[in-house]
Subunit: 213 residues, 2 copies
């Protein structure tokens, strides 16, 4: 079965609901509150106090479990796109990357996840805390998505020493560039071009890891 | 002679000073004031009134010649990196792109141009006016830099229908991604990889313009 990115606004498949004890309910409440504050008021207004008030979870619990704003933001972003998400590995590397790129682009249009992600990228221009959140977010995303590349290496579709993160970064960079830097629209043709460009470079050995040679 | 990116902080070569009438002096004064306000206070504080006050140029003149904030920002960014700048075309396409990438990266470290450019990218998260400025800035930059690619096509280094902007965007996207999105450092190795990746994709025909086929 294909796994897809489940966004926070969507209903869960009833068969998939996990029992979820008190800890899970606390997390859900805190993450939802974090996302709401971010989407409504932006990163500048996000404080542990506001999340505590909105979620009804005591702020000492939030500090203990999330450490503070950074931890909250990273976990809320992970929560919004489904903690259990793993990339689809059912096709060839090209199909799997295209599927991932389409999902990533769609997620920016999600009413909660989109503005939250944008708020964090915007906040990194002003706040070192937000920079930390951004670092941790991309480390997590790149880590999960890298399995598309490691699988392709195993299958002989890409050179042996290819650095998975470099391929994913090459794929995502033009998409982020259009969305957040040059502020141009992103079409399916652009996604296709990004996939083809990343693969052509990987196949030419541009992303071969020097250290592992 | 190699042309290089002259940044606003640098002294001009005395032999290169153009006579510059009153119009040129007005422009210089207005652009410098715009850059100063942007670097000191950010885009949110940039008004025609403040630029008029700082430069001593009447605001009706500024509105007439620049149209408003957008026009000011685009012209100030062009002024800061030398209006006459053209890319170095003296090497092969790889050498010319690497030279350009190095210059672009160095410009982000410039005390006036760097913060100004960053302020405009940051402002686009909040202001449609800034989005317009960003569009016009990249149209100008991509237009100028594209000659590296058109020259390479003429020389038979790249496929005939290669879209120059697509190659430049592929080159710059990972650099902007690291600087402004994932907030990672950019080394010479990263620049080299970006050049190689953009060229590998171009050589594989990924950036061939469909319409012109």
């Amino acid at each position: 079965m294909r796994r897809r990115l489940r966004l926070s606004g969507e209903a869960e498949n009833p068969g998939e609901i996990r029992p979820g004890g008190r800890t899970a309910r606390t997390r859900e409440s805190v993450c939802r509150s974090t996302l709401q504050v971010l989407a409504e008021s932006g990163y500048a207004e996000l404080t542990v106090e506001r999340v505590a008030e909105r979620s009804g979870v005591h702020k000492s619990t939030i500090y203990r479990r999330w450490g503070g704003i950074d931890g909250l933001v990273v976990d809320a972003l992970a929560f919004a796109v489904d903690d259990d998400w793993e990339p689809d590995l059912s096709g060839n590397v090209e199909a799997n990357l295209m599927e991932f790129a389409r999902m990533a682009l769609a997620s920016f249009a999600d009413p909660v996840y989109g503005p939250t992600h944008t708020a964090v990228v915007a906040a990194a221009f002003q706040s070192d805390r937000a920079v930390d959140a951004v670092h941790r977010f991309f480390a997590d995303r790149f880590g999960r998505t890298s399995t598309i590349i490691t699988r392709a290496i195993e299958n002989g579709e890409l050179p042996k020493n290819t650095d998975p993160e470099a391929v994913i970064r090459a794929l995502m960079a033009p998409i982020y560039f259009r969305l957040f830097i040059s502020r141009q629209s992103v079409t399916d043709v652009d996604l296709e071009q990004a996939v083809q460009a990343a693969l052509a470079a990987a196949m030419a050995g541009v992303f071969e890891n020097q250290e592992r040679r």
